[in-house]
């Protein structure tokens, strides 16, 4: 009888693992999820609330796909992993045996012990259930007079955009003195600050949450700001201060845990035949400057591709290539290739160009001594992944990259090009520097 591969979690990591195991073998595959019956794209949850899409559109595969590919789906909550007997225990006390187990259990929103963080109306935005909660808590601006979002990251700004689509007033508390400036250089972060305000979002920089105040029914009715003691009345509080691996159910399992599930480069845990992929996996050391835990869509997918090879008898190390990522801040798209840090590290310099309309800019990071190109952040201009990946591999100089920037342009046809302006700005800065 074929080996039974059980995958906990039907997000991108778990589903990619299953698909690639099916491509490579005839093993029996089961995917378990407590969240939804079918795989959907978590990144699209915001568009359901905004009315751009319906839930069914977020499913990358039609429902017949799973049966056709002999991937069994089980809707259940795993409460314990008994690795000695290779068995899972579900919340309803039933069990399931496995031969190999892949943990792809994702993340949960962070809570930092704020007073009132468990009140009604206080929520994160990660799961399908969170979306249902938001629809209940903030159906419209009559039911929700104001929402306060705590945490200036990617989910926070998405949540602000969602609420603004229903014209709900939003106050956005950001601990840093500028939006996401632990990651973005000042020029970019400042541009996004202004863009957020242009969308009529009450952005409060350098502001911490002290507490959330309850009404008589245990619902949030206001928040208090740490620095000033100001009380802001609100009906909904969005907690979006990052996510962390969703591993509480594994505490006593014997699987080695840190912040996430500890894995080696083969994505194996300390227990034989148990693997971890995606947001919940923690490398012992970050790979090529990456963080030990990468809660990014494509890394989940790549880990799934890799672990499927290993499980099917072609042992492979997880070996991500050059760093890249993307996001969208309201109307401004962002992409990054290679490494650009908020402050140039020792021996690095930044070149920054910004368009006068204040919605487009780029920052290029260069090794000062050699002129080697290290990375680029581009806002409001699309760039080709393939070209930058090649330039990084070829270790091109920033001079070369700037001169050939048009090759990497990925904007739609007839869009205005800015390469000339960028080149002349680059040259003038090189002269003055």
């Amino acid at each position: 009888m074929e080996e039974h591969i059980v995958i906990i979690g039907n997000g991108i990591s778990g589903v990619t693992t299953a698909r690639h195991i099916r491509k490579l073998s005839d093993k029996k595959i089961t995917i378990i999820s407590a969240e939804t019956d079918h795989f959907f794209s978590r990144t699209a949850l915001m568009y359901i609330y905004m009315g751009h899409m319906k839930y069914e559109h977020t499913k990358p595969y039609e429902n017949y796909f799973w049966k056709k590919n002999r991937i069994e789906l089980k809707r259940a909550f795993v409460k314990n992993v008994d690795h000695a007997n290779k068995q899972l225990q579900f919340a309803d006390d039933t069990t399931m045996s496995y031969d190999k187990l892949v943990l792809a259990v994702g993340s949960k929103p962070n809570k930092f012990g704020w007073p009132g963080q468990d009140l009604e109306g206080v929520q994160g935005l990660y799961s399908y259930q969170d979306l249902e909660k938001l629809e209940k808590n903030a159906p419209n601006k009559s039911a929700c007079n104001r929402a306060v979002i705590v945490g200036g990251g990617l989910i926070g700004i998405e949540m602000a955009e969602m609420l603004r689509s229903r014209d709900i007033p939003v106050t956005f508390l950001v601990r840093e003195k500028s939006f996401w400036n632990g990651v973005l250089p000042d020029g970019e972060s400042g541009m996004i600050n202004r863009h957020i305000k242009n969308h009529h979002i009450d952005l409060r920089l350098g502001t911490n949450l002290r507490e959330i105040i309850s009404d008589e029914n245990g619902r949030a009715r206001a928040i208090v700001i740490g620095e000033t003691g100001e009380e802001i009345p609100c009906n909904v509080v969005g907690l979006t201060a990052g996510v962390s691996p969703n591993i509480d159910f594994l505490r006593d399992s014997g699987i080695e845990l840190g912040r996430g599930i500890k894995v080696n480069r083969m994505l194996e845990t300390n227990i034989p035949d148990i693997y971890a992929v995606g947001d919940c996996a923690e490398q012992h050391e970050g790979i090529n400057g990456r963080r030990p835990i990468e809660a990014v869509w494509y890394t989940g997918r790549m880990m799934g591709e890799t672990v499927a090879q290993t499980i099917c008898g072609n042992p492979r190390q997880y070996n991500p290539g050059h760093w890249f990522n993307s996001a969208k801040f309201l109307d401004i798209e962002y992409q990054t290739y290679g490494w650009v840090f908020s402050k140039p590290r020792e021996g690095e310099t930044h070149f920054h160009w910004k368009h006068t309309d204040d919605t487009k800019c780029i920052t290029i990071n260069t090794e000062a001594a050699t002129g080697k190109f290290i990375g680029i952040n581009n806002f409001g201009i699309r760039m080709r992944h393939e070209v930058f990946d090649r330039w990084l591999t070829e270790e091109r100089s920033t001079d070369y990259v700037v001169e050939h920037l048009a090759e990497a342009n990925f904007d739609p046809e007839f869009f205005k090009h800015f390469e000339k302006d960028i080149i002349s700005t680059y040259k003038s800065q090189a002269v003055t520097a």
């Binding site: 699209a44 568009y47 009315g51 689509s165 014209d167 991500p320 993307s326 309201l330």
Partner: protein, 548 residues
């Protein structure tokens, strides 16, 4: 499901409309109300005055509505609430709009008398059509017909909703230029120039109504005898248009499709496409993305194409038989050369593109060719116009006339494809089936261009390495029902015969993954198993493994 509530028109943002939009609706409705009064036979007095007021109000209403919707907003994607609004999510308003549009088409095609066509003294127009007489006299110097009324309203819809679409995509030059293009081609080539040219007609000189951009097989009547005769009789200028029409089909169109994909026609020039992209834009997300819909589409559109080729050949062959002095070809040489042309085309494709033709596509093509050739043989032995068909068998006894088989076929095609499919279903059902159901399922022109685009074109939609997050905006808002995401998440270029190149998938993508491009044929279709970003050796390993 709790998260998919359907709010009503009077609901909350993003469903509710603001004061400017309400004023726009009011003005536009007033304009339509004047048309309704005229249609109901109310004597309004000066037709010129009321027609001017009505058309101005309709145009202004749409533009004011668009201003209210987009002017105060920052440039960006404006899809908030499209799945909540009753009008754009198959709600009550959507169904009402669908029924009203469908009703309008049925009256227009089959009961033009109701609209006042020739109902007055000495066959003068009354009612709605009478209202359009002043404009018709101004342009072409004769009374209006139902088609003039339709053409005017159609052009106004493309212009007014075109302005709305451009406002919606104020940040996107591709969308703006494309919209200016369809607005121009509709107004000039489909409306003003043909109507002005009608002025040239006299007792001794007559050109058929000729929308220059409309080519066979979209205008299935292009080679009907009356039309070809009229062209030939109009001597140099007529011959010019006849030859231009043929050159467009066999040379200009394939060349442009090779360079730019079928979008050069479908979303930059075509009138059907023009209406779909402007007035139909609010319904683009309603097209079905299911695999089953794609399968249906492939059978439907190619069946219509075969039918239209067979029918056109039949039509030409019947009149070629009558008069060998007037035409260069006799019936049999025409049939043999048409058949030979198709066989040679098929052989070339089957040989040079054999690696790209999937089994089912090849099978479908063989079936289509066999049916077509068998029909040609039948035409050569049978005299279609002498085969009599009693329509009673097909109309439950409603119509007891008998027709020649050729006439019956043409009537069926004109009625079934030309009227019911392209008009009643194609446009009337915008709010139910999406704005491109005709283009996707029924247009023979799209069928031909699609085959060219799939096999011989530099056009593709490129995906950007590993950036796709499978969110599904691209698929949801694809009016042709292409599951764009299924390609993007594999890092695979989108090379689909149905793609009209509207560019909306690229516009709505939040991660900058999609780009419409014309590039070399090499590597245009690039199936990949592992996306860019992962270990290069692993990519080679998996891709080679699958290639071998």
């Amino acid at each position: 499901m709790a998260i998919e509530r359907n709010m009503s028109l009077t609901g909350q943002p993003p469903v509710s409309i603001n004061t400017t939009q309400k004023i726009g609706v009011l003005i536009g409705m007033a304009g339509l109300f004047i048309l309704l009064l005229a249609a109901l036979g109310v004597d309004l007095g000066s037709a010129a005055l009321w027609l001017t007021i009505s058309l101005t109000a309709i145009t202004a209403g749409v533009i004011i509505f668009a201003k209210g919707a987009y002017a105060h907003k920052l440039p960006g994607i404006k899809n908030d609430g499209v799945w909540f609004k009753s009008m754009s999510s198959r709600g009550v308003l959507g169904w009402i709009a669908g029924i009203v549009l469908t009703g309008f088409y049925i009256i227009l095609y089959f009961y033009a008398g109701v609209l006042g066509l020739g109902q007055g003294v000495d066959g003068a127009n009354t009612g709605l059509i009478g209202l359009f007489d002043p404009l018709s006299y101004l342009l072409k110097g004769s009374a209006a017909s139902e088609w003039f009324v339709y053409g005017t309203l159609y052009t106004i819809a493309i212009l007014a909703f075109g302005v709305k679409f451009m406002w919606k995509y104020k940040h996107n030059r591709y969308e703006q230029l494309r919209t200016i293009s369809v607005m121009f081609f509709q107004t000039a080539f489909a409306f003003v120039i043909p109507e002005l040219m009608a002025r040239l007609n006299s007792d001794t000189f007559s050109l058929p109504y000729n929308d220059i951009k409309l080519m066979w097989p979209l205008n299935y009547y292009a080679f009907d005898q009356w039309r070809v005769d009229q062209f030939i009789n109009a001597q140099n200028i007529g011959l010019f248009f006849l030859i231009l029409g043929i050159v467009t089909i066999f040379v200009i169109s394939p060349f442009l499709t090779y360079k730019y994909g079928k979008r050069w026609y479908c979303s930059w020039v075509c009138g059907c496409g023009g209406l779909a992209e402007t007035a139909g834009d609010p319904y683009r997300h309603l097209s079905s993305k299911k695999m089953s819909a794609w399968k249906l589409e492939r059978w439907m559109i190619n069946a219509v194409l075969v039918f239209s080729v067979v029918m056109t050949t039949a039509v030409i062959s019947t009149y070629l038989g009558y008069d060998s002095t007037k035409y260069w070809f006799t019936k049999n040489t025409f049939l043999i050369s048409a058949g030979a042309f198709l066989v040679i085309m098929f052989a070339i494709v089957a040989y040079f593109k054999r690696d790209q033709l999937k089994n089912d596509a090849f099978k479908g093509a063989v079936i289509a060719l066999v049916i077509t050739l068998a029909s040609f043989v039948a035409m050569s032995y049978l005299r279609f116009h002498e085969i009599q068909i009693n329509a009673a068998y097909f109309s439950f006894g409603l119509n007891t006339n008998t027709y020649g088989l050729d006439g019956a076929m043409r009537t069926f095609y004109g009625f079934g494809i030309g009227s019911i499919f392209s008009g009643v279903i194609g446009t009337g059902f915008y709010p139910i089936l999406g704005n491109r159901v005709w283009c996707r399922m029924g247009c023979p022109m799209a069928g031909i261009l699609g085959i060219q685009q799939r096999l011989f074109s530099k056009f593709r939609i490129t995906t950007n390495g590993g950036q796709c997050i499978s969110c599904g905006n691209c698929s949801t808002h694809c009016e042709m029902g292409i599951d764009v995401r299924s390609y993007a998440q594999k890092g695979e270029n989108i090379v689909r015969s149905s793609c009209v190149g509207c560019g909306v998938c690229s516009a709505v993508c939040p991660r900058g993954v999609l780009k419409l491009e014309n590039d070399s044929l090499e590597g245009r279709i690039n199936p990949t198993e592992v996306l860019l970003g992962n270990d290069v050796d692993l990519m080679d390993y998996v891709n080679n493994k699958n290639a071998s």
